[in-house]
């Protein structure tokens, strides 16, 4: 199993490589008024309008330090591309199924629904993001 990895607030996350369309640096972002804060904005991806979801806000992590531009991990979905805003891009990691464990009972809240589990790497945990749930956000939900 291959995962594209990225970091969020020091945590290492992974998404199945097959779901990732491309990775691009910070883009000009158009804010969407009235939308919930998980909606980072809209970017112009070669003419296609792509909604960017701020994963830090989505995972209820502390906000990114000012002036640090987020990277875009563009994933394919049934309704077109969606961009996930992350801190830094890591390597593509090959893992085997036996290093996987489901989240322990102590993980709660939003993390429990968005993190499918963890692969135990050398000295580090790779958290597997449930991509579909992560991008399924309502603009109407409270900020």
């Amino acid at each position: 199993m291959q995962y594209g990895t990225f970091t969020l607030d020091g945590l290492l996350f992974g998404i199945e490589v097959s779901r990732i369309q491309e990775v691009i640096r910070a883009q000009q972002m158009t804010r969407v008024p009235l939308a919930a804060s998980v909606i980072g904005g809209l970017i112009n991806l070669r003419g296609e309008i792509v909604t960017a979801v701020d994963l830090r806000r989505r995972l209820e992590l502390p906000p990114r330090a000012d002036g640090v531009p987020p990277m875009n991990v563009v994933v394919r979905t049934r309704d077109g591309a969606v961009s996930l805003l992350v801190d830094e891009i890591g390597d593509v990691v090959e893992v085997s199924a036996d290093s996987f464990e489901e989240p322990p009972g102590t993980v709660s809240g939003v993390a429990l629904s968005l993190i499918r589990g963890a692969h135990k790497l050398d000295g580090r945990l790779l958290l597997v993001l449930d991509t579909d749930r992560a991008i399924h956000v309502s603009a109407l939900q409270p900020a």
Binding site: P33, L34, I39, G47, E48, I49, D79, G80, A139, L140
Partner: protein, 763 residues
Amino acid sequence: MDDDMIDEVVGEFLVESYEALDQLDQDLLALEDDASPETLAAIFRTMHTIKGTCGFLGFAHLESVAHAAENLLSPLRDGELAVTPEITTVLLSAVDAVRAMLVMIERTGGDGESEHPELVAELQRLQDPAESTPPPPPRVGDLLVEKAGVRPEDVELAISEQALGDERPIGEILVDHGVVAAEEVEAALNTQSEHKGAALSESTIRVDVRLLDDLMNLVGELVLARNQIVQLSGAADDESLTVPAQRLNHITTELQEGVMRTRMQPIGNVWNKFPRVVRDLAHSFGKQVQIEMDGADTELDKTIVEAIKDPLTHLVRNSVDHGIETPEQRRERGKSPDGRLTLRAFHEGGQVIIEIADDGAGIDVTRVGAKAVERGLITPDALDSMSQRELVNLIFLPGFSTAEVVTNVSGRGVGMDVVKTNIERIGGTLDVTTERGQGSTFRIKIPLTLAIIPALVVGCGEERFAIPQVSLLELVRIDGARLGTEIEWIHGAPVHRLRGRLLPVVDLATELQLGGVPLAERPAVNMVVLQADGRRFGLVVDEITDTQEIVVKPLGTQVSELGVFAGATTMGDGRVALILDVLGLAQRAHIVTEGADGLSDAVDELGTDVAAERDTVLVVDVGGGHRAAVALSTVARLEQLACRDVESSSQGPVVQYRGELLPLVPLAAAAGIGTPTPIARGEEGLLEVVVCSGPGGQIGLVVDRIVDIVEENISASRTGDAANGATFVAVVGGQVTDVVDVDALVGTHAHSRPYELLAPVAG
């Protein structure tokens, strides 16, 4: 033939037959009015073709129905039998049966179990028993045997070769076999097509719609790139860039128009089925309805034609069901027993108007009002304060239906509200006018295309938004001293008196929670007057930037559910701008609510208060897609002048024109709009020049292109300090246009007497 080939042949047969059947419906109905030999021959040929092909493909049941219908049609065509309503009805049933079997073939590959014995018996009963074998239509082979002395065996051989997969026409095979000369075949074909009437045009091809969609997307991208280049070239002020940018601009515009034309379909494609719908409906209600169509060739983008099919059908059904009375009622009211349903379509101001008018009972507004109160849609108090127009529009409220008896036609849970919503979804509007006892007219206004639309770009806070020009009425700027008096407050709600009527004011920054200075404390206000759902409101924005063609792109569900954005587009600088959903915004701001809010505005009154100000203006393109207008009364002539005739003077470029010096003024530069067209001296090419006269003399305004002459009331308001006061902005032909004050320009630029061309001094 292998299976793929058979599938292909069957597919083609289906496509052609569906088309033919739609035409058959039309022709059969036309028969009821006028049984002309041409129509009968056309019907016969269509049925014959279907019969022949399905026989060849082995659809026996389909063939037997088509054959029986053909046998009935034959004596009709030959004038041995007269057309009766009974015959028409049976033939229409036969068309339906054929259509049903075609659907079956499409789904299952077979033509079903039913042999339609009753229908076949009926078809046989109605035909003159003496006449059962129809003479075959002339075939090329037969004609060649008859005229050119070809042996029947040769023709048989050629036919069997075709059956084995030779796709060439029979004539070609025979020529190849050397049994007949090409000229003979030519002559036979001519004879045949004389018989057939108009031969099928060879100048058209079928194209996959997906290909056209792809092309449209590409053109959309090109339009955006063009906007970018034109913007850059305007900023760079480099002639070596300006000229190719101008050229790119022209080509892109033409390409866009061309690709859009390929997607255009006549509205008649949708209307074609209405005579049948109306006939069936009228029969089932015991009503008599004549349908008239005007403008069936009016063209619309394919996606829009698809989108309005259902709303239109519903309106037509509604008119027959609720509008037109029974023959008895009509006689009592002194009307002809035949009700009249008129469909009209025409272009107006870059939009298409479709009207569905009936001469029926009209809408009883008192009853509508009472019903709305009864259903709890409005309060009795609100009812008292409503105008006629507002009362009529209550029929568009969700949950409203005036039908006293729920019929099997209109009582399907699809109300007028759904019709209206579906039309508004594609950027259109629906309006109704009615007169008691005289009938009702439903009026649909829709854009020509959805993909690329003209829009006004406005700024608010740090954001830019695009507003579709369809919703735009006019622009108003209120500054400084007038602000205190011209924005008034009713219990916290801002309003503006526009020509004596109260216009609700909506602040975009407040509505979108963008922050900024409160409305009451701003030094000046730019207001865009918009119309949604028949009501007007003024939308306050920070700045009005530009008008441009934008490409509408869809939003992800995460954003579209907000309900105030209709889509997004990319701007010249590559950034994304949201497109405001004017109706959604109006709903959010409670401008459009269920019922009346006292501040609403009636369009019919709006129509009259400015009707006196009709002007005729010449609309021109000044470059970069910017439109400008000059009053036609100031235009002396339209000229194309050669670039090489342009000379320089201390006052700028001039040409010798009718014995005088005509100063040339690039309109874009003089009025401070658009991208100025450089006047390239001494070059090949022509300049489009509008020769205008004013108090100070004549000037030639250099423009990119003459667009149109438009007559309408220009409800104009100055937008602040437009460049040197020579222009103001108005909505002309549905688009924001800079109206040029020619007198002011002539005053500035016209050369007075001393510059008159000096006659050569005689020695």
